[in-house]
């Protein structure tokens, strides 16, 4: 174990020296460091078993995942914070320069980034509507119907299919201005000029609809599981007491479903915060950045301008915002559920 640790350190030092002076013995890329890390991990595992016996064997269950996650998350994130403080454009030759908080000030003044953040708020608020629809569908599937399995499979379908392929087909051809069936339908319904992606507000709504189409089944399935786990007796009792359907729903079903609902909504919000692929494929942020989510904005910042330093600063700021927001959300949800019950 000690040998392996030394080996890892030696490789890293060697590599740094090589990169720094470019003449010592070293390797072409950093890849040997990766191998050294893997070897080090294996050595730690063996070392645990040899030195600590049964306890070591237990630790072995956890170690692979732990080492993997640390290598893949902690290190890149720390590295990301460093990049965020540099002026680094991959397409320019000057390479990386440390420029302190310049990116940060630039970010604060960036109207497009603010707009993207604002869009995220709108997109997250759309979860409420999705929730209502998903709850309705779950109730439908939980009613006494025939062919329940068929409908469940059909309703689940949108979640399975590649959002890129589907949003391409829906966004680009189904909602196509001239001949798309959705546009034709909208014309029949009296909307003279059914351009789904040219007006900023309508474009946002279209994106929300596309995203909702994909993810409503996710909430629906969770809510359905909640409904099915609910005991029949409670509902029976409510009926015996003379409650009508409306009262039963609001006084019995809904409160009992609250914990599941909160879980579903929070998970959905977490997924929503990652929203990018639909926007990149369908509008690439247009018209004029109106539909940009933070992720798609940063994606374009890199793709169009190779601006790694600034892009990373945006991403890191977003990470901080998300962590604060989700932590608050979890606390709030906890208290909310406890208060109601």
């Amino acid at each position: 174990m000690a040998v392996a640790t030394l080996g890892l350190l030696a490789t890293i030092v060697l590599e740094i020296l090589y990169k720094g002076s470019a003449d010592a013995i070293g390797f072409e890329t950093w890849r040997p460091v990766v191998y050294a890390y893997v070897l080090w991990g294996v050595a730690i595992g063996i070392g645990q078993v040899l030195t600590r016996g049964e306890d070591g064997q237990r630790a072995l269950f956890l170690l692979p995942a732990l080492l993997f996650t640390i290598a893949m998350v902690i290190f890149p994130t720390l590295f990301g914070f460093y990049i965020a403080l540099t002026d680094w454009n991959l397409s320019s030759f000057s390479g990386r320069k440390f420029n302190g908080l310049d990116n940060f000030w630039q970010m604060l003044a960036d109207p497009y980034y603010r707009n993207a953040l604002f869009n995220m708020v709108l997109y997250v608020l759309a979860v409420a509507v999705e929730y209502v629809i998903a709850f309705g569908l779950a109730l439908l599937l939980n009613a006494q119907i025939r062919a329940r399995k068929f409908f469940r499979v059909v309703f689940l379908m949108p979640l399975m299919l590649s959002p890129v392929a589907v949003s391409w087909m829906i966004g680009k051809s189904l909602m196509e201005y001239r001949f798309g069936p959705a546009a034709t339908l909208a014309r029949h319904l009296g909307w003279e000029n059914p351009a789904f992606f040219s007006d900023p507000i309508i474009a946002r709504i279209s994106i929300m609809i596309l995203d909702a189409w994909t993810f409503i089944p996710f909430m629906m399935i969770m809510l359905l599981a909640g409904l099915q786990a609910m005991s029949r007796e409670v509902l029976e009792a409510a009926r015996v007491d003379g409650a009508n359907a409306w009262q039963t729903f609001w006084q019995v079903t809904f409160p009992l479903m609250l914990p599941v609902s909160v879980t579903a909504v929070i998970l959905r919000i977490i997924f929503k915060l990652k929203l990018a692929d639909i926007i990149i494929t369908v509008t690439s942020g247009g018209p004029g950045g109106a539909t940009d989510s933070v992720s798609s904005f940063i994606y374009r910042e890199y793709r169009d301008r190779s601006n790694v330093g600034y892009g990373t600063m945006l991403a890191m700021a977003y990470l901080v915002i998300i962590v604060v927001f989700v932590t608050w959300l979890l606390k709030f949800a906890n208290r909310f559920v406890r208060n109601v019950n």
Partner: protein, 305 residues
């Protein structure tokens, strides 16, 4: 809101007329939503058999509105008359397809192996690494779920370039593993929690080692949950676009990237686009229909206590 309530207790309403009305409403709503779910898929599949005129005139029903044509599939080299000829597009497509298969299966397998081991350890034993206890470790794993891909994307781009993993399938597999690991741990942990500890205690008394008990006793019982986690992970990896678009260019490009890159340049070939999209979603549609039970199991793990 009244919509939801009426159906819910529909079967309990007594008068025949309102019973009938509620039935009509329920099936109407079901059919309506089924239409919303299926129409885009229908549109995608039929468009792949259309010629330019049929697309621009918005023809919908094959054989009635328009005569199906193999044009879209021919452009992919997958139509009956071109399937035996050599086709560079088909080779390209098959390469992307294999990339998708390899990365999603590889990442899901890796995630299942290290994820279920960790989940098992966390449900059965007490750990403390420095000041971290079990709950902290679980939270550490699950909290990866909120990490947006965009945060890791650019650092990884730079790191992968240094390490020589850019545009390789291994690189993608590692990232995808990271992406699905929290979900896998979440599902399998739920599964292991539902298995009584007494089973393993008996096995240990009978002389099996800790790892022996895990492989011979616990794993067979937990298999459905692991399958569920595997399938869910595979679906997520197959559909992933963001990392694939950033980190791959020629060698390791996956299907979604290929679909998205068809846009742009000289107009859009609707038919070949549609054929490509159909090919991209077909495997998942099959999985969805065949393995729906496991998917639902995976998604609802831990949701209902």
């Amino acid at each position: 809101m009244s919509v939801q309530t009426t159906e819910y207790v529909a079967s309990e309403i007594r008068s025949p007329a309102s019973f009938l009305a509620s039935r009509v409403f329920i099936y109407g709503a079901l059919a309506f939503w089924a239409f919303i779910c299926l129409f885009p898929i229908y549109w995608t599949v039929t468009t792949s058999f259309k010629t330019a005129v049929d697309v621009t005139q918005g023809h919908l029903i094959p054989f009635v509105d328009f005569q199906p044509d193999w044009k879209g599939w021919r452009s992919l080299g997958l139509s009956p008359d071109s399937i035996f000829q050599t086709s560079t597009v088909r080779e390209e497509f098959l390469k992307r397809f294999m990339n998708s298969v390899i990365t999603s299966v590889g990442a899901s397998s890796l995630a299942i192996v290290i994820g279920s081991l960790a989940a098992y350890g966390l449900t059965r034993y007490r750990y403390h690494f420095a000041w971290f206890k079990n709950e902290d470790i679980s939270f550490f794993f699950l909290s990866q779920l909120i990490l947006p891909p965009v945060v890791l994307a650019l650092p990884f781009l730079v790191l992968y370039r240094e390490v020589g993993l850019l545009d390789t399938r291994i690189g993608l597999i590692l990232l995808y593993t990271l992406m699905v690991l929290p979900i896998v741990i979440w599902i399998t942990r739920d599964q292991f929690n539902s298995i009584p500890v007494e089973l393993e205690e008996a096995a240990l008394v009978d002389g099996l080692s800790i790892w022996g008990a895990f492989f011979r006793i616990v794993m067979p019982i937990a298999l459905p949950g692991m399958v569920a986690a595997f399938i869910l992970a595979m679906v997520l990896c197959w559909n992933e676009y963001f990392f694939a678009a950033l980190l791959t260019s020629t060698d390791a490009k996956t299907i979604p990237v290929m679909v998205a890159s068809q846009t742009g340049s000289q107009g859009i070939n609707w038919w070949s686009m549609a054929a490509l999209a159909t090919a991209a979603i077909a495997p998942l549609a099959v999985i969805g229909i065949a393995l729906e039970r496991y998917l639902i199991m995976g998604m609802t793990a831990g949701a209902v206590k």
